[in-house]
Subunit: 188 residues, 2 copies
DNA sequence: AGTATATGTGAACGAGCGTTCACAGTCAAG
DNA sequence: CTTGACTGTGAACGCTCGTTCACATATACT
């Protein structure tokens, strides 16, 4: 019964991306009084799955936006996966600077040995500097490409593919870094 | 000036994960009257970056939760990347059944030829059925592993690694599918 | 200069908010 | 059966909400 309420609350949040008001919870839970809701909310708060802001409005705990984080594949699924408290929010996990992040689609297999395949998506952060060894999006002599960024002791810079069928790219005119790759995402 | 307001609104939303009230916007924008806010909000609505719910409270447009989606790597960065309207929310993009999704860490290189490397994270959906060719988490004779799921015409099932150094796994006692891999995520 | 348009101020308003009270019904333990 | 703890009802309260006035100030155009 009590868990039904939690389920309904979660469903509401997933649908509307916000917590319901007390009136909405009355309908949602089937109560005819806001007081019944208030008592229930107190339990939610005690349990720590929600909290209140400075005006008394409900705030969802981070777990509402997250999915359970299990251990390694070898460890497999715990018998009661629902009980696990460790959760992760993919957006927060991947995106550090939201205002500066972009998604790109990979075409070509020049980075295949780094396990970035044709059709994968990459999350990048815009910048014009990079460290040796980072994967970057760069503009070399007018053409955009994604490669390993290389810089030696004499500050000579070039790009290196992760595919033995491709050759390193040495800029003729210029090599401008546009962004660094922060994550790779592949969907099946 | 007007864009400053949008920036501040975005910052507020990113920090608090909700839209500010009119009073909060007064402080946020430096107004001394709620009416000034109301006029500004009307413009936001006209522009389509926010809307209102049935109670008049502000709702963030989906773009607030998303990051810009550019084209392919070869196309590179458009000269004015800010102007692009195509955005994507990583969570929504990847997660179809939230209540049924889990994250696991990959250990080992048995799927390396499918470009899933040691240390990568996989997003999985719990299920006990799979189609031939899908990547699954399975319990084979008591041990959990991630492999290609195979099923031939006679309904014989086994697991196949994506690494020529590993051999296919034929169950002695049982092969229980636990989850199917929906996405791979690698963070740098 | 004069006028129209846009932008901000200040005050008032009704509505819905979350809170709190007294009270009735339910259920289990003594 | 009685008692006490728990749970839900119904009504009232103060508060902040978003809305909407009339009015002042700034900006732009003729």
């Amino acid at each position: 019964m009590y868990n039904d309420y939690k389920t309904k609350l979660t469903q509401f949040y997933n649908r509307d991306r916000r917590m319901p008001t007390y009136s909405e919870m009355m309908k949602l839970f089937g109560f005819k009084s806001k007081n019944a809701v208030a008592r229930l909310v107190d339990k939610f708060i005690e349990e720590g799955i929600v909290s209140k802001d400075y005006l008394g409005r409900l705030i969802a705990d981070t777990s509402f936006d997250s999915i359970p984080m299990l251990g390694s594949v070898k460890a497999g699924f715990p018998s009661d996966a629902e009980e696990l408290k460790d959760t992760i929010n993919i957006d927060d996990y991947l995106i550090a600077k939201k205002d500066n992040s972009y998604m790109l689609t990979v075409d070509g297999d020049s980075m295949i040995d780094a396990h970035i395949a044709d059709g994968d998506m990459v999350l990048v952060e815009k910048t014009n500097t990079a460290k040796d060894g980072q994967i970057v999006i760069a503009n070399v002599d007018g053409e955009f490409t994604m490669k390993y960024f290389r810089k030696d002791k004499e500050n000579k810079v070039w790009l290196e593919p992760a595919n033995k069928d491709f050759k390193p790219i040495y800029p003729k005119m210029y090599l401008n870094i546009t962004a660094v790759v922060k994550a790779v995402i592949r969907k099946y």
